[in-house]
């Protein structure tokens, strides 16, 4: 008796009996997971394909240099010591411009997020100025801040300023008001509420804004360095382009790409550290 019952249940589990059928599964999905090693494999196989294409003559060296040639150009750059000069000049501009732009953006964004008058003043200004390509303003910046470092840093500063402002006040707008009310109910000072409740709540939005502003900064860095810079990755790429030295051009572009990856990785680290409470 017992055994037949078990068999009967097993039959139901395996294939539905008679006029029934199992309910089809329709859930799952919509949750991308972290998969390791895929990204390096994609990068490597693209490089290998490219190299094979160049070696076999399928890709003409006039159209596109082989990766090995670009690597050679990079090697020259390292050996001559110029890489350090270009990179340090670029990084210096990037760090100063991005830091100042972000700090200013955080300040203005917080003011817009918290107070009525600054919101009425700055929010429309930001909306009007953000869409202007900063590259178009570069000649003006050169007149205002000089052909030297000033105009380059100003370009990056403005480029990172606006996305930060928008991300910051958007983040502050989304702060849970019940948490602010809680702060007030415990008599926390206004400064303490901003420091301990408002800014930490807005941090996820600020960090994702930083991702965008960092990329914009790198784009603007190169654009700015293409005018009147002796050293810098942008100047190197521009010179290579003028000489039709495609191997150097690709080497320079690769450096920019690595710079972008590094910045993105740094922000991911910051997110993992500062937003670990979200997990």
């Amino acid at each position: 008796m017992n055994s037949t019952e078990t068999v009967g249940n097993a039959a139901i589990d395996a294939a539905a009996p008679e006029n029934g059928r199992p309910v089809p599964f329709r859930g799952g999905g919509f949750s991308p997971k972290r998969v390791r090693f895929v990204a390096p494999v994609v990068f490597l196989s693209l490089l290998v394909l490219w190299e094979l294409g160049s070696r076999s003559g399928f890709i003409s060296p006039l159209v596109m240099p082989a990766p090995s040639e670009a690597l050679g150009a990079l090697g020259d750059l390292v050996r001559s010591g110029l890489l350090f000069k270009h990179l340090s000049a670029s990084l210096w501009r990037l760090v100063i411009g991005f830091t100042c732009g972000t700090l200013l953006g955080l300040t203005v964004g917080t003011l817009i997020g918290l107070y009525s008058l600054p919101r009425a003043t700055f929010a429309p200004l930001v909306a009007a100025l953000f869409p202007i390509p900063k590259i178009a303003l570069l000649p003006l910046f050169i007149i205002w801040f000089g052909i030297g470092e000033g105009s380059k840093i100003a370009t990056i500063l403005f480029g990172s300023f606006f996305p930060t402002v928008i991300a910051t006040y958007g983040g502050i707008d989304a702060v849970d008001r019940s948490l602010i009310r809680m702060g007030q109910s415990f008599n926390l000072s206004r400064a303490a509420i901003i420091r301990s409740i408002v800014l930490p709540s807005a941090l996820p939005a600020i960090l994702s804004g930083m991702r965008i502003s960092a990329s914009i900064s790198i784009i603007l860095l190169v654009a700015a360095e293409m005018i009147g810079a002796e050293y810098g990755i942008g100047a190197y790429v521009l010179l290579a382009g003028n000489l039709m030295a495609t191997d150097q051009l690709v080497a320079g572009v690769a450096i920019l790409s690595i710079l972008g990856l590094t910045v993105s990785w740094l922000i991911s680290c910051a997110e993992r550290y500062f937003l670990r409470w979200r997990v």
Binding site: S178, L179, R181, M182, G183, Q184, S185, F186, N187, L188, S189, A192, S196, I197, P200, L203, L275, W277, R278
Partner: protein
């Protein structure tokens, strides 16, 4: 310290939510305020603690808060209002910052309150890892750490399931027996009101007016769920409220 609410009337634009509320919260007593949904219970509590300004009338503190009270009127919220990025310890530390207490003193006070609420082992846990009941226990610990004179509790158990609510009610009763705190307790749950209230105030539908005040003399510790006396009181309250609740249910929320 007693709290005296005098002739409190409140309006949002033209909508009158509260009308001529007169009420005293005596030291060492729990006053429960019940009423149909939308009758202005939560508004009343926000007015009492100074989170909102009444249109007319006053809330007066009678006498001095106890010595060392960092925040005489302290809220406990329905949605807990814990900072998700701070641990239990950090959430409690938040309300001690800015009072000029040393680091050692803050740690000592937090450890003390965690021990009193039996939360010591959860000090370094984030709110997300806690159940609703534990989150509210943390919020209660956070409220106690500032030595409040009056606890203002806004439906503190309404976000919890019924089993957890029972457990927390027991916790609150034993806490009251140990500490004799003063509280103004808002709820829509009559069972909570008769279990915890020394006095139950029934508000009418909007605009909220005091319809009735019922004193319950049974000591809190003896108020078990099966106590027939208590059941009777709860039924009495329900009969008083029924009509109000029925009409309130058909009221438009905003005009």
């Amino acid at each position: 310290m007693d709290l005296k609410i005098r002739d409190l009337t409140h309006r949002y634009a033209k909508l009158e939510v509260l009308r001529k509320i007169n009420l005293t919260v005596e030291s060492g007593k729990i006053v429960c305020i019940v009423g149909p949904s939308g009758c202005g219970k939560s508004t009343l509590l926000r007015l009492v603690g100074g989170l909102e300004q009444p249109t007319e009338g006053q809330v007066i503190q009678m006498g001095e808060p106890p010595e060392g009270s960092l925040n005489p009127l302290t809220y406990i919220f329905q949605d807990f209002a814990l900072l998700p990025w701070r641990t239990v310890f950090g959430n409690i530390a938040l309300v001690l910052e800015g009072h000029g207490l040393g680091k050692a003193e803050i740690t000592k006070r937090i450890e003390d309150v965690l021990a009193r609420t039996r939360l010591s082992e959860f000090a370094n846990v984030f709110p997300k890892q806690l159940s609703g009941g534990m989150k509210q226990r943390v919020a209660i610990a956070r409220a106690l750490v500032v030595n409040p004179a009056v606890l203002l509790m806004d439906e503190p158990l309404s976000a919890l399931d019924s089993q957890t609510r029972e457990l927390l009610m027991d916790d609150l009763v034993s806490l009251w027996e140990r500490e004799r705190f003063t509280a103004c307790y808002i709820t829509h749950n009559l069972n909570e009101a008769v279990r915890l209230g020394h006095e139950v105030v029934i508000l009418s539908r909007r605009p909220g007016e005091i319809r009735e005040t019922v004193s319950i003399d049974i000591p809190l510790g003896e108020r078990t769920a099966e106590n027939p006396e208590l059941m009777k009181t709860q039924n009495l309250l329900w009969n008083m409220m029924r009509e109000e609740a029925l009409t309130a249910d058909r009221q438009l929320t905003e005009t």
